[in-house]
């Protein structure tokens, strides 16, 4: 689909959430029913056979499974392969797992479904209809993406069906050779056995014949009780490569005759180039060219050289003058804009139960709790800086990139150099971290443009850490104003929340799809506040889009990353004001959702909540339901000579079903460290129109000596399946803030906490 037709369809857009674009359902129906071609057909080796977009088998028994989601550390390649292997009857150590090409057959429909503005637990007809509508749209747009903690939910049926379908045709092929009934044959470890005769065939022997057969229309997927691989910890398929320093990342790509380049984009975000003087740079050793890179995303220049460091040096030597951006130039001005939006902006209500106005109208002053909260912009700071490698030769564009959105890379990089989408080929490498940053595709578009200036030679474009930090698509800053009216029992009878933040979708759409105007509410502004399973008679949560044009994007757990802090920090204040234990308050307010109460009870037991603590230590609690996973956490902190040490975190999580408990545990730990890291010292500030932080000396993620012990307990009672990559993050931040309050008596309502207390 070209950008023009995409724009036309999307002009009929009826709803935009965080899950990108939906629309044109009537038009879309036809395309939806027409199956996408199997992208593996085009790339089979001699003698190799493919059964569906997820399975290839070669005559030498090389079995290749396609895990078409970005592996950025979350273990998705292992678990997606396990889903196929479970039904295909092969061991994980028998298979090769590849990401595979960019293809519409690999659309992530779940990611779009979850973009609808209904809470996860609302299964009313409307919510279900909307979810299925979004899924149709996702397939229609063919968006292959990794995000929203959706990969396993999305793959749970698809991947197992792919394995089962391939297994069944392999059995059919064996049955034909033997003249036996396919139902009488056994499969295991990549072999079909006829127990009657003792004859065996390897999958490789049968692959060619089997691939020509149609699988039976109905295949029963195995019951959980029959699983051999799923539900048990597996050795990750990428572990050996990663402990040996193997060249698997974007910056490790090497191609014959490859050039090395770097970028400098205008630090005044979105501003134009005023002037460039590359005379000094061009005299430097190894420098081939300085070229302008001008896009709707950012404007700047690239230096193309024969070594990355030489490109870095020469980029410093280019004298550039930059035009200004359109946002307030410093953090104080940005805060004013957010405050104005919070005060006067039009809110759209993600939740409006009862009648909040009436409930507050006659409230006695002493029954009211009020608080203002705030969070700063944050960088993603993936360990691997942004990069991509591109080659434009004879009308064909190849892109090697660590990215979360291959179909979007394909479409937009092709458009940037004026070729058809069909002539662009995306090779997704391993990602040295994603956290949502690589759901943007700016780095790939820039690399394509640079490759259009190298006469067909491939070029690797590596950003410096400084560029990575200053050209990030930040987690938006946000402000919240909250009030509650307490009843005589200490429980809230009314809660009113207003939250203002720049809209993420309102930032992403104009930079990639300028013809589409983002309309409707941005549910990410209230995600984590408007959709929590609390029952409060009068309960209103409004989100306001703040008009600040600094580029923002998806950051691990998106709106939940700040609403978790807002909602649960404020709930802790309500508990304190009402004289209730924070866990007891949750048990009462979430009584209608047993899954929520279960994780509260579980983390209470794990952490021995309520037991007397040694002097100088304290605990804090928080709960967030996000991405379908119910998570309760307790953080314990200690006073060490006036500084705070985060000693321990207990986490109880219920994602419904866990495919790999060890990987799930690792994801919870990772999400917790990512959240705590932001809370103890991360902040992007602005001065003179540019971000002030540039590298890890002034943007300071958590280091090992600051990392607490983490204990994770898993429950599997929720009846819908949730994600793993993000839900650990949101409650970690308020649980720490609440623990700091319990320890010091200081209620810190603004992140990072390190502005008011010192951490070890």
């Amino acid at each position: 689909m070209t950008m023009a037709t995409l724009g036309k369809i999307a002009r009929r857009t009826f709803l935009i959430g965080t899950g990108l674009v939906a629309g044109g359902l009537a038009v879309g129906y036809y395309y939806y029913r027409k199956p996408y071609p199997n992208p593996l057909e085009d790339e089979l080796a001699e003698g190799e056979a493919t059964f569906n977009p997820y399975v290839k088998i070669a005559p030498d028994n090389t079995i290749t499974l396609i895990a078409p989601r970005a592996e950025m550390g979350q273990g998705v390649s292992t678990t997606l392969a396990a889903l196929v292997a479970e039904e295909l009857d092969v061991r994980l150590d028998q298979v090769i797992v590849e990401h595979g090409p960019a293809g519409h057959a690999y659309a992530n429909t779940t990611m779009l479904e979850e973009g609808v503005p209904f809470p996860h637990f609302d299964e009313s007809t409307v919510a279900e209809l909307m979810r299925s509508g979004m899924a149709v749209a996702g397939k229609f747009l063919g968006l292959q993406g990794t995000g929203g903690s959706t990969s396993i939910v999305d793959g749970f049926y698809k991947m197992r069906q792919a394995g089962a379908a391939a297994r069944e045709v392999l059995k059919l092929a064996a049955a034909k050779r033997l003249g036996a009934e396919p139902g009488s044959l056994w499969t295991s470890d990549g072999i079909v056995t006829d127990p009657a005769s003792g004859t065996t065939f390897t999958y490789g022997e049968l692959a060619q014949e089997a691939a020509a057969l149609a699988p039976p229309a109905e295949i029963r997927l195995r019951e959980k009780s029959e699983w051999k691989i799923l539900g048990k910890p597996q050795a990750r398929i990428d572990m050996r490569a990663k402990v040996t320093g193997a060249p698997i990342f974007g910056i490790d790509v090497r191609l014959p005759d490859m050039l090395f380049a770097t970028l400098r984009m205008n630090p005044y975000r979105g501003g134009p180039i005023a002037s460039l003087d590359d005379a000094d740079a061009m005299k430097m050793r190894g420098v081939l060219k300085v070229v302008k890179v001008e896009t709707g995303i950012a404007n700047g220049y690239a230096v193309i050289a024969d070594n990355t460091w030489r490109a870095f040096q020469a980029a410093d030597a280019v004298k550039a003058e930059w035009g200004k951006g359109t946002y307030p130039p410093d953090s104080a001005g940005i805060r004013q804009a957010l405050e104005a939006a919070l005060k006067e902006g039009d809110a759209s209500y993600g939740r409006d139960d009862g009648n909040v106005e009436t409930a507050f109208a006659d409230a006695p002053r002493e029954r009211i709790v009020e608080a203002d909260y705030g969070v700063p912009y944050l960088a993603h700071a993936t360990m691997e800086p942004m990069n991509a490698t591109a080659r434009l030769k004879d009308g064909r564009l190849d892109i090697w990139a660590p990215n979360q959105m291959p179909t979007m890379v394909r479409q937009l990089a092709a458009a940037a150099v004026g070729i058809e989408t069909a002539d662009c080929f995306v090779h997704t490498t391993y990602l040295g971290g994603g956290f949502g940053r690589r759901g943007d595709v700016d780095y790939a578009i820039y690399a394509a443009i640079v490759a259009s200036k190298t006469e067909g030679r491939p070029v690797q474009v590596t950003w410096t850490r400084e560029e990575d930090m200053q050209q990030d698509m930040y987690r938006p800053a946000a402000l919240g104003r909250f009030r509650a009216r307490l009843g005589n029992d200490g429980l809230p009878v009314a809660v009113d929340m207003r939250i203002a933040a720049p809209s993420i979708i309102g930032s992403i759409l104009p930079r990639y799809f300028p013809s589409i105007s983002p309309i409707g509410p941005d549910k990410s502004i209230t995600d984590g506040s408007a959709n929590q399973p609390y029952t409060i008679a009068n309960y209103r949560v409004g989100g306001i889009k703040a008009p600040v044009s600094i580029p923002v994007g998806f950051w691990r757990s998106v709106g939940n990353s700040f609403n978790g802090f807002f909602h649960e920090g404020f709930m802790d204040e309500i508990a304190v004001a009402g004289g209730l234990d924070p866990l007891e308050l949750r048990r009462k307010l979430m009584a209608a959702y047993p899954t929520a109460v279960n994780v509260v009870d579980k983390v209470g037991a794990m952490s021995r909540w309520g037991e007397k603590l040694p002097p100088g230590t304290a605990k804090g609690f928080a709960f967030t339901l996000s991405f379908g996973t119910w998570v309760a956490q307790v953080v314990q902190v200690a006073d060490v000579g006036g500084r705070i040490r985060i000693e321990k975190v207990w986490c109880a999580a219920d994602p419904g079903q866990v495919m790999d408990p060890a990987i799930f545990e690792a994801q919870m730990m990772s999400g917790i460290v990512y959240g705590l890291s932001s809370a103890i010292g991360e902040e992007i500030t602005f001065a003179d129109g540019a971000a002030e932080q540039s590298n890890f000396h002034d943007y300071t993620p958590m280091r090992i000596h600051q990392c607490p012990q983490i204990e994770v307990g898993i429950l599997e009672t929720a009846h819908r399946m949730g994600g793993a990559g993000e839900p650990g993050t949101p409650p970690s931040i308020p649980a720490l803030a609440n623990a700091v309050h319990a320890l010091t008596g200081k209620r810190i309502r603004s992140m990072p906490l390190s502005k008011e207390v010192e951490f070890l």
């Binding site: 550390g73 360990m383 983490i710």
Partner: protein, 159 residues
């Protein structure tokens, strides 16, 4: 300028290499872009993250912040660890504890951990914190790094 002055010798993983680069080029970029040794990763370029850690004469250094001209000893990168295709015990401990997530920091983590265990065979938590705090991990693998170092320490003690 004579050829001897612009061509430098580097001993990496037991092999002698002659490279013609500026003396002020950081070792990291000479390894990656000139010698095609890509185990050391680029994370910050200013000695803040440890992703580029290599040994020079057995001492861990940040290869992004040492120039080629400053290198006088033998360089070992993660590629030089495995003997006869067998993993170093620390790498094995990393696999046993399933440490890596995205993996980008892990070559540097493994190198630093090996240096720690050579200096202190049975490190305490405080020793681990001290030695490893220069190596960032954005994926938060720290708890499993601690477990893997302890596992490697007891494996060596038992051997």
């Amino acid at each position: 300028m004579t050829l001897e002055e612009t061509t430098m010798k580097l001993n990496v993983n037991g092999s002698e290499h002659e490279i013609d680069v500026e003396t002020e080029m950081p070792l990291l970029w000479a390894l990656r872009d000139e010698l095609d040794i890509r185990g050391p990763k680029f994370g910050c370029g200013i000695a803040q993250c440890g992703a580029c850690t290599v040994f020079i004469d057995g001492e861990p250094v940040r290869s992004c912040s040492v120039t080629v001209g400053e290198v006088s000893g033998a360089v070992t990168t993660i590629e030089g660890l495995a003997a006869d295709g067998r993993l170093h015990p620390v790498q094995q401990a990393w696999i046993d504890e399933q440490v890596a997530q995205c993996g980008y920091c892990q070559a540097g983590q493994v190198m630093t951990a090996i240096a720690l265990l050579e200096a202190i065979p049975d490190p305490t938590d405080a020793d681990i914190d001290n030695a490893m705090s220069g190596n960032l991990c954005r994926c938060g693998t720290y708890p499993r790094i601690r477990a893997a170092i302890k596992r490697a320490a007891s494996a060596t003690a038992g051997a």
